[in-house]
Subunit: 344 residues, 4 copies
C-alpha cells in the first residue's frame, strides 16, 4: 500500500486520543498533522496531558505541533473528524470544500442522503454515494461512521438479514465514555441507572435503517437507551422479530460464520471474526469483553441467544467497545477500506 | 386492631433486618420472637451486628433472645419467613403443620397451586386459596410474596389489564441487594453489567401470570434479566403488547389513578399511591426513586411512557425498591391485609 | 423563639436544595425568599427540577418565585449563601452592605481576620469577631462555615485539645458530592482514586487552625486529599501527635463525652451527640454512617481509635456527611446559634 | 538460559490465572503442570471457565490436564503456590520435602526466619537464607513473596534508605482484587470505603522490616488499611520520617534513578524502570497507572512528592498493580532471578 498522510481534527479530546494510539504505528496511514483549539501551538505530547513516562507515543507523533482547526493549517490526504457535533458540520464542510477527504464520527452529516454511513463489514457498497456527493461541487468529500451504539447493533443484525428482519425491541445499557469528557457527572451515575440519553433512540433507529439499506422498508424499532456505571462497552439487550423461523443453532451459526469485506481484504484493523458468540450464559460482559477480537476492541461479542416470544423471534445480548469499534477503530477501518478501494 | 404477635425467622440476615425496622414500631404487629442459626442464644442487638449507637431498635426488640429456627421455640400468631430457598421449604412446612400462619418471601412454595402468591394491591382475592390449602391438614398455612422483580412488574401491569395484555418484552437491570449478602462479588459487578441471573427470567414469567390470574391464558414473556452496579432498586424496561389501542395519556391516567385494597383500607404500610408516574424523561432512577412513596420504598415509580412498535404497544421504565416493596414491606403489607380480613 | 425570615441564594443548586429540605419545616427559620440565576421568574418547584410527586416541599415553599440574586430583590433577615466561589465574594459583600446578615458556605471570606469561621460545637465564641467586622461599615455582616472536610476534622480534634495537639497527618477519601454538580466527571472516578483536590489540603490546615484558635501557635498539618467513588460522606484517616500521653480508652471517653453549646442550648438541628464512636473495627463507613445522629447527618462518626507511633500519638478514622454537617446543616445550626445568642 | 519446567498449584483460582498468562509464553519457564481441587481431571481450558474465543492460551497450555494438588502428581523443577492461606502451609511443606523448589504468594511462611521474603529489586541478597533453610532437611525449599501492598511500599522506600528511614505513617486504599474471588461482597464496597482489612496493617509493618533488613532496628509503622471501589491497583498515601534532610528534587531523582538486580540482569519480567515518578499532581491513579511499565503492571508509580511536616519528612502517593507486581508478576520475576543465580 502506498502511504497516505492523515490528520486528526480535535486530536486532544477523548476520542482524538484514541486515534493517536491507532495511527501512531499504522502500516500505511501516516499521522502528519493534528489540530486543536485551546492547545494550538503546543507540542502534542504537552497538549494531551502529562508527557509522563507511562504514555508511549512515538517521538515523531509526540512532537507534532497542534495546528488550528482550519483547512489552510493542515497538510494531509485524509482528515479524521472526531469533533463535537456543535462545530463538526461547518468545519467538515470547509475541509471537504478545500479538497480534503473527511471521515467523521460526528452526527451532523450522517443522515444526509449523499453521505455514506459506513460499517465496513456491513455496507461497504454504500461508499458509492460518494459519487452522488460530487454534485455538491467539492473536490473532497465527507464519509461518516455511525453512532457508537448503532455500530454494534448493525453488526449483530447483519447475519440475520437472510431471515428477514421485521422489528427490533432493544434496551441499551451504555457506558459513560460514550458521552465523552467531562460527559456524565459522577453524581448522576454512581449507584444508579440513568434512563434517558437525548436523541440516542432516534439515531439508532434511523442510522441502522440507512446502514442496512432499509430506508424504503424500514425495520420498526422500539429502543430504550439507558446509561449505567460502566466505563467502556455498550451492552444491548435485543429482541428481534424475523420473517422466517429460526433456531438458536441457526442464529449462532450465521453469526459465527459472518465475515465482511475487511476480513476478505485482510485490512490491518479488521478483526479475524467480527462477531464472537458465547454459549456461556454469563457472557458477554462489558468489562471482560470490551477488548475482544484479534484486533482488541474490534470484535462485537454476543451471548444468551435464545428464541423470543411471538412468531419467529430471537433474543440476545450484544456488547461492543464504544470508543474503539464504535469510534476511532471503526473510522480507521473505514479509511483502510477506502484506501484499498482506491477512494483516497 | 387487636395486636398480633409475630416472629421473624432468620431475623439476622439482610432481609431479616429489613423486617426488624418495619416491625419495631408497627401499630398492631408486635415482634415477640426472632430466630436464627449461628446466633442462637445471643441478644438480637448483638447478633445483628454492632450494637453501636447509630442503630435504633427499641429496647424491647434489641433485647430479644435469638431462638432456634423451629416451631417449639417460637411463640407467635404469625411467622415471617425471609429464609434462604435451601432451608425454606421444609422449615415453612414444619411451622404451618405446627399451627403457625406463615408469610414467606422465599421461592419454594410460590407456585404451589394452593398457596396464594400475593401483591396486596393486585390480587387480594387470591387469599381465597388458603381455604383450598386446608386440605393439606395443617392448622396453620403458608402464603407467599413474589420474587422482588415480579412485584414491580405486576404493579405496573395491573392498570393495563383493561386494555388486554398479550405479551411483555422486558429487560431488567437489577440491584445487587436482590442477591442478598454476601451475594454478588464486587469483582463481578464494578464497571460491569452481568448478563444472567439464574432462574430469574422464568420466575418473573410464571409468577406474574399466577398473580394476574392468567395461568389459563398466559401472557407471553421474553425477559432478559441482568445485574448492574446499583445497591438497591430494580429497574425494568418494558415493552407491552396490548389488545386495544392506547395513548400515552390513557396509560398515564390509568396508572396514576390506580389504587388497591390496601389503599381503600388505609393499611399502615400502604403508600397513598402505589404507582408514581413521571413525565420528566430523566426519571425514574433507582438512586433517586427507591424511597418513593408516602411510605418510603413502597411506591413503584414509572417513567418514559410512550407508544411502542407493532400494533397497540406501550413502552415504559419501572423502578421498585427490591428489599422494601419487593421484600419485607410487601410481606408486612400482606400481613396487614390478612389481619384486617380476619385471616390471622 | 421569634420567627426569622430567611433567604437562600442560589437555591436551585445542589447545596441550595439541601437548604430547602432543612428550612421547609424549620421551627423558627422561615424560608421567605429564594434566588437564582437562570431560573429567575420561575416557581421554585419548577426551577429545581421535576415538580414530580416524589419531592415533598410544602406548597408555600414550592410556590416561591425565584428572584434575581441581588439585595433589592430579597426580603429577609438572614441570607444563606451556598454560592460558587467565583460569585460569592462580591455578592455576599453586596448583601452585607445592604444590611443583610449573611451566613456563607463559600470559601472567599473564610480566612478574613474579622469573619467568624464557625463550627457551632467547636468555637461559638468566635462569633465575637462580628463586633470587629462592624469596622467595615456594614449594617449587615458575613459569618462563614468551613470547608466540608474541615468540619469533621475540627469536631474530631476538639475533644483532643486537653492533650495538646502538635501535628496531624491525614489522608482524606472524599465523596464526589463535595465537588458539587456536575462536579467530578464519572470518567475520572469510576474504578479509581483521584489523588488531588486543588486547594483542599491548604484549606484544611488553615481553616482548622483558625477554628481551633491556633493561628498564633499552629498545628502542623500534612494532608493528602483524594477523591473516591463515594456519593456522600468524607472519610478521613488521621494520625495525631499529642503533647500528653493518651490511651485508646481516654480518647474514646473524651470523644463520647463531648458536647458543645448547641447541645446545651438544645438547638433544633443539633444532634444529641456530636461524635459517635465505634468499637466495631469495620466502622465508620460512609455509606452506613453518613446519616448518623439524632438529627440525621449531623453526627460525625469515629472508629478504629488506636495508639500511633512516635510519642503520644493516636490514630483514628472519621466520617462526616459533607453536604449536611459539612454544608447546609452546619450553616443552619450556625444560624440557630446566632438566633439564640441574639445576633440575628 | 536452559529451560525450567514449572507447575502452578491452584491454577484455576483468580491469582492462578494470572500465572497462566505470564507463563504461557515465557522464554525459559515452561508450564508443564497445573493442579487444582474441584477441577481435577478436566482440561485446563475447561476448568478455568469458558473455553470461549476471547481467551488466548496456547494449545499446549489449554490442553493441560488439571492434577491433584500433591507432590506425586506433579512433574516440575519449580512450583508456584498461589494457594489460599488455609491450605498453603502444609501443602508447600509437603512439596518442599518432596524435593520441589517452591515460590509462594501465600502468607504462612513469609515470616519464618529461614525463608527468604523477596522483592527482586529490593533484597535479592536475602535468597542467601535458602542455605540456612537446608537445616530443615528438605531437598527442595520455600521462598516467599510479600503481601501485595507490601511490594509497592518496599519498592517506594528502597531509594529512600540512604536518607535513613525512621518511621512511616501510611493509609492504604486497596483494590477489591486483593481479596481474591469471590472476595469483597459488592454490598460492602459500592458507594463506600471499608475501613478495615484484617491482619493487613500488621503484615505491612512486619514484612517491610524483614525485606529491608530492619528486623534489628525496625522502622515504626502506623498503617491504616482501607478498601475502596477499585478493581485493581492499590493506592497508598505515605508520610515518611527520615534521618537526613531531603528535598522534593532529591527524592524524585533517587526514585527515578533506582534500578535493581533484575534490571541489571535484564530479566524478562523486569520493567526497565521499577519506579515511574509523576510531576503531574493528578497522578498516579490506579485505573490509569496499574498497567504502567515496560512490562505492563510491573512498574510502581509515584506522585505528589512533597515535604511533610516534622523534621525531614517526605510525603507521596504510590500505586501498584496488586495482582501483577504484587502477585504473579513478582513471583515470576523472583523465579527468573533465582534461575539466573543458579538456585533452580
Amino acid at each position: 500500500m502506498k502511504k497516505i498522510d492523515v490528520c486528526v481534527l480535535g486530536a486532544t479530546g477523548t476520542l482524538g486520543k484514541e486515534y493517536l494510539k491507532l495511527l501512531s504505528r499504522h502500516p500505511f496511514l501516516k499521522l502528519r498533522s493534528v489540530t486543536g483549539y485551546t492547545s494550538v501551538g503546543k507540542k502534542l505530547c504537552e497538549a494531551i496531558g502529562t508527557g509522563e513516562e507511562t504514555e508511549d507515543l512515538p517521538a515523531e507523533v509526540a512532537d507534532l505541533e497542534v495546528q488550528p482547526t482550519q483547512p489552510k493549517s493542515v497538510d494531509a490526504d485524509l482528515v479524521f473528524s472526531p469533533l463535537p457535533n456543535e462545530v463538526a458540520r461547518r468545519t467538515e464542510e470547509e475541509f471537504a470544500a478545500a479538497d480534503f477527504k473527511v471521515i467523521t464520527d460526528a452526527a451532523p452529516h450522517r443522515m444526509d442522503s449523499d453521505v455514506p454511513l459506513i460499517v465496513p463489514e456491513v455496507n461497504p457498497e454504500q461508499l458509492g454515494l460518494l459519487e452522488t456527493q460530487r454534485k455538491r461541487g467539492w473536490n473532497g468529500f465527507i464519509a461518516a461512521t455511525p453512532n457508537c451504539t448503532t455500530v454494534g447493533i448493525t453488526l449483530a443484525l447483519k447475519p440475520l438479514e437472510p431471515f428477514g428482519i421485521n422489528y427490533v425491541v432493544a434496551t441499551t445499557m451504555q457506558a459513560v465514555s460514550g458521552a465523552g469528557y467531562p460527559g456524565v457527572p459522577s453524581l448522576d451515575i454512581i449507584d444508579n441507572v440513568y434512563p434517558y440519553i437525548s436523541g440516542e433512540e432516534e439515531k439508532i433507529a434511523a442510522e441502522t435503517n440507512k446502514i442496512l439499506g432499509r430506508n424504503a422498508d424500514p425495520i420498526s424499532f422500539a429502543v430504550t437507551a439507558t446509561r449505567v456505571p460502566v466505563l467502556n462497552g455498550h451492552t444491548v439487550s435485543l429482541h428481534v422479530g424475523l420473517k422466517e423461523e429460526v433456531t438458536e443453532e441457526s442464529i449462532t451459526e450465521e453469526m459465527r460464520a459472518f465475515r465482511g469485506k475487511p476480513q476478505t481484504l485482510g485490512l490491518p484493523t479488521a478483526p479475524e471474526k467480527p462477531l464472537i458468540v458465547f454459549t456461556d450464559k454469563t457472557r458477554p460482559q462489558p468489562r471482560l469483553d470490551r477488548e475482544a477480537g484479534s484486533v482488541p476492541g474490534m470484535a462485537v461479542t454476543i451471548g444468551r441467544i435464545r428464541r423470543g416470544i411471538l412468531d419467529n423471534c430471537v433474543q440476545f445480548i450484544e456488547v461492543s467497545n464504544n470508543t474503539m469499534r464504535g469510534g476511532a477503530g471503526g473510522a480507521v477501518l473505514t479509511a483502510e477500506l477506502m484506501a484499498v478501494e482506491g477512494l483516497i
